[in-house]
Amino acid sequence: MRTVSNPLLVLKSLSKSWREFQIKDVNLEVRKGEYFVVMGPTGAGKTLLLQLIAGIHYPDSGKIILDDVDVTYLPPEKRSIGYVPQNYALFPHMFVKDNIGYGLRIRGYPKDKVEEETRELSTKLGINHLLERRVSTLSGGEQQRVALARALIIKPKILLLDEPLSALDPETGEEIREYIKEIRKILKFTAIHVTHDFVEAVDLGDRMAVMFNGEILQVGEPIEIINNPRNELIASFTGAKNLFKGKVIARRGELAEIDLGGVRIYAATRKLGEVMVAIRPENIIILLEKARISARNVLEGVIEDILEKPPYVSLKVDAGLPFTIYLTRNALEDLNLRVGRRVYLAFKASAISVF
């Protein structure tokens, strides 16, 4: 949904110092209808950035333009921004339906109107069955859905999601990713999604920004940034993370056989057709011999390079595809690994993210 009109949200040289967190001269534009991911390691200032946009903190300098209006010093209640914090912060003293209806109730909507809109949105979001529940009885995934509904009911100009998947187990996380894509199609909202996980960035983001130490280092399409990080720093937490294109060629129940251009692996997924596959470097085990182990995938390869990356050592292995593996220094010495040595890479089907 790219338009030639002004961007929906513009951040101009935004700076803020708050406790141990910092935002330094951030310039960013988010277009209407866009799903924008801000990715960076813990402590990069991602949450503070969202809180500045939401109006929870005011910047030390710089400007925030939302929908052509300068909202830099406008209080949060006047901004029309949906905010889903990391812990969801569902109000524990209210039922689910009262949580969702809060934004309308506070605006003085009549009771039956609140009820009607709550029901309508909940039906669209598939959480109708949760309405009469107490917040304390909800699972993590359910809390996430309710928090989304509560933020979306006020029809915010922009939705801010702070690490929305980090508190969930991997399966629920994947489920919620699909869920977010679904509800985006229905409600067509604009969102900024903050994460440290590049899988979320690639899977959900139309565009992404890489943030480090309060600064935006690179902005672009996720795949483009991950494949062509502008510098070593960006590469260190986005790039070279065993991200491959592939195609599901056969399935056995929960298990899919995926062809990554010559190399075949098995992954736990229900996806079909063209997919992206990511295997975290820390989830790959190095073996010297092709032993019988429980891991579904064992690939043969040759060590091409060994790089010191304290506290880890990073190995580049050519196994038909370029793999990156992280090891501790001790493990490297114990296994007596050298460049040119033949090794086996083992990883479980469940350690692979498919999207």
């Binding site: 939401a54 949060p76 209640e77 933020a151």
Partner: protein, 256 residues
């Protein structure tokens, strides 16, 4: 394993000493009197009046603590400012001094010829030997309990709830009344009950600021001194019962 068991055995024996020391007095009294005597105490006009004075004065002190202490507690919980720690410590001084001393301090500051007292008397508040004197003395010794209990209640409410509520369109006041206050309600309620009970139990400061109108704790002393131990028993039992009810109520609130 065996050692641990020994530890709990030893500690339980030592612990029972203090359990006994505390429970004996509040049990034995009920063998020294009976419901009829306690009922008669409730018919005694002087006792009734003293009870009424004490309970209403304590209620006024608690109400004042609620109205002025709750906002203070919220500010202390949510904002940092210069000398905040010092202020908080000073607010607790009344808990750290003998209550006779507290009485003298209150009397000195607010008596009708003092500069503050002159202003107070213009709006009809004279503290010497008056109901308002009882209220002010009670407030001085009990409000610190309310403030610290309410402050910690507010601190326990995650600020993120307030942030979300604001993005959803609620201003500061609406957030306070729809989110923060309900979530801190239990702490505030138990703080208020303890404050009220502490006010009821005050003797020392009242003795100095306002021995009249007669409050119940002073009446107990008076009866004891004039007529001896037996004369003080029914009214003592009555006050003890009220204390037990307060404690059980607090327990119920915190269990819920």
């Amino acid at each position: 394993m065996r050692r641990v068991e020994n530890l709990f055995l030893t500690f339980s024996i030592l612990g029972s000493v203090i359990v006994f020391a505390l429970l004996a007095p509040i049990t034995i009294i009920f063998f020294m009197t009976n419901p009829i005597q306690i009922g008669e105490a409730l018919m005694d006009l002087e006792i009734l009046n003293a009870l009424l004075t004490t309970f209403t004065a304590a209620a006024m002190a608690t109400l004042s603590a609620l109205i002025f202490g709750t906002p203070l507690a919220y500010v202390l919980a949510r904002r940092d400012f210069a000398f905040k720690n010092l202020l908080e410590s000073l607010m607790n001084v009344p808990l750290a001094i003998p209550h006779s001393v507290a009485g003298i301090l209150v009397l000195l500051a607010y008596h009708s010829r003092s500069s503050i007292g002159e202003i107070l008397s213009k709006i009809g508040i004279v503290i010497e030997d008056s109901f308002w004197g009882i209220v002010v003395a009670m407030l001085f010794v009990s409000a610190p309990i309310f403030i610290s209990s309410t402050r910690s209640g507010f601190s326990m409410v995650d600020e993120t709830f307030e942030h979300v509520a604001r993005t959803l369109g609620a201003g500061h006041f609406k957030v306070f009344f729809t989110i923060t206050l309900p979530l801190a309600f239990r702490s505030i309620l138990s703080g208020a009950i303890v404050t009220w009970a502490r006010a009821v139990s005050e003797v020392g400061a009242l003795l100095i600021v306002a021995p009249y109108p007669k409050s119940i704790a002073l009446l107990v002393i008076e009866r004891f001194e004039a007529f001896g131990l037996p004369a003080a028993i029914p009214i003592t039992a009555l006050l003890l019962l009220i204390g037990i009810i307060v404690v059980l109520t607090l327990n119920y609130i915190s269990m819920r």
